[in-house]
């Protein structure tokens, strides 16, 4: 386990809200989903089903993109994609 300097507040109270953002769950990933934008039909089903809200829609391009800081690599998006444009790759550490 990585040793980080931590503040052990009495009773384990987290004194500032929103601290879970600092915890990058993308570290857990074994498989990395990769979107082939040339095949994507912008149906946004992957955005709907992502359990970690790690798929975002770019408002300008209306394209989906994966936030790899928080994507745990569950690959539900891969399974859901109706045009099979999301591939999986083994995560290189």
């Amino acid at each position: 386990m990585k040793k980080k300097k931590q503040n052990f507040e009495q009773g384990a109270v987290v004194t500032k809200p929103g601290s879970s953002k600092n915890y990058h769950t993308g570290d857990w990933r074994v498989f990395r989903p990769i979107i082939d934008q040339s095949k994507c039909i912008k149906c946004y089903q992957c955005w709907q089903v992502c359990p970690d809200a790690a798929i975002r829609i770019d408002k300008k391009t209306e394209r989906v993109e994966i936030d790899y800081d928080y994507c745990k690599g569950c690959l539900i998006c891969v399974k859901q994609c109706p045009v099979k444009c999301i591939a999986k790759e083994v995560e290189k550490k």
């Binding site: 386990m1 507040e9 009495q10 384990a12 109270v13 004194t15 500032k16 809200p17 601290s19």
Partner: protein, 382 residues
């Protein structure tokens, strides 16, 4: 101060009232019922300003206890036996979140077979859940310990929940003369309730988050350190209490009776200590050098003080009103571990389970066992 003849349940209720709690979650269970009945009556009569939460189970009582302390309210509750067992899941959460509050436990045996009578099985089996446990012998001590308990629990170096353990029926339903302190003195004795962190929608914080393997153990160490700190706090509060109210209970951790020149002694908790005192007075008249150690604080366990207390003894008998099935009485385990270096015979006796009487005759047998040099304890059936 006014002198009144009341039962310990009523004394506990009065003690709680004097500490001015903001919230009391209530769920009745024999033999604790009179405590919450009396408190409900006080609130209904307008004698105390306090929110009473009529919960649907002890699990809810403990959860409401936790929540209202976290919201910044002084909170009190009471339970017994199966009720405490139903609270079990919440007990380590209250202590782990470092929320100070007092709960009275009317000690009763646990099922099966069903027993509403006294032994120490309920609270003793919860001793590892991070609560300070003070065990009382009389109605007066019960009332006083609730007041002391609030001060100990809310001490900034402690910040742990505290149980006041009093024997069901043997104490809860027994009428005794009790000095009821006046409100002014109690108000002066107790600080205002304050928390470093409390639930506040204007200043949101996260309570009870996950502790990953790289942090959990540090929080447990903090709890243990707080427990060790509380040893001194219990002693200090007991001393301060004497200054304000004229009464104290031994050192606060242990209460010694005729131990000065004693060769043989018994050690126990709760009301059985009263019977031990009577036996000791009787045997002293026959010229026998006997004494008693009352453990008032089971958690934290006063190891060092105990080592000094038993220094001149020839043998010690520990009376457990609980059995850790498959081992021995937990109290004798603690005592042996504490005084391992003292090289002293310690016999463990199991007595008074499920309300079986612990009589002077039984104590006489224990003392005669010690004098004869017996190396083993036994089960004491009345």
């Amino acid at each position: 101060m006014t002198k009144r003849v009341i039962e310990a349940s009523h004394a506990i209720a009065i003690g709680a009232k004097l500490t001015r709690p903001d919230v009391i979650p209530m769920y009745p269970i024999t033999p604790q019922t009179h405590v919450v009945e009396d408190l409900a009556q006080f609130i209904n009569n307008g004698e105390m300003k306090c929110a009473m939460i009529d919960v649907e189970s002890e699990h809810s009582a403990a959860s409401a206890f936790l929540g209202s302390i976290a919201a910044g309210s002084r909170t009190f509750t009471a339970t017994s036996s199966q009720g405490l067992l139903l609270m079990y899941e919440v007990l380590p959460i209250v202590s782990g979140m470092r929320l100070p509050g007092v709960m009275a436990v009317a000690n009763r045996a646990v099922s099966a077979p069903i027993s509403i009578w006294n032994d120490h099985s309920d609270a003793v089996s919860a001793r590892d859940q991070g609560w300070i446990q003070l065990w009382v012998e009389s109605s007066q001590e019960a009332l006083d310990t609730v007041i002391q308990g609030v001060k100990i629990s809310e001490d900034k170096g402690v910040m742990l929940p505290l149980m006041v353990c009093f024997d069901g029926f043997t104490l809860s339903h027994v009428f005794e003369q009790v000095d009821v302190p006046d409100q002014k003195t109690v108000d002066k004795f107790l600080p205002k309730f304050s928390l470093k962190h409390k639930l506040d929608i204007k200043n949101p914080k996260t309570f009870g988050p996950i502790g990953f393997p790289n942090s959990y153990m540090y929080f447990k160490k903090q709890q243990q350190d707080a427990m060790i700190t509380s040893l001194d706090v219990i002693k200090k509060v007991n001393k301060d209490f004497k200054k304000s109210f004229g009464r104290s209970y031994g050192s606060g951790l242990l209460d010694l009776y005729k131990m000065g020149d004693a060769d043989y002694a018994v050690l126990g908790m709760g009301t059985l200590c009263g019977t031990a005192r009577v036996t000791i007075d009787k045997l002293r008249k026959q010229g026998k050098k006997v004494g008693m150690i009352k453990v008032r604080s089971l958690r934290p366990f006063p190891e060092k003080e105990l080592q000094v207390a038993v220094k001149n003894l020839k043998a010690l008998a520990v009376i457990d009103r609980h059995i850790s099935l498959g081992q021995e009485g937990p109290l004798v385990t603690d005592v042996r571990s504490a005084i391992y270096c003292n090289d002293l015979t310690v016999n463990g006796y199991i007595a008074g389970l499920g309300g079986m009487d612990i009589t002077v005759k039984l104590f006489e047998k224990v003392f005669s066992d010690l004098e004869k040099g017996k190396q083993n304890g036994s089960w004491l059936f009345d």
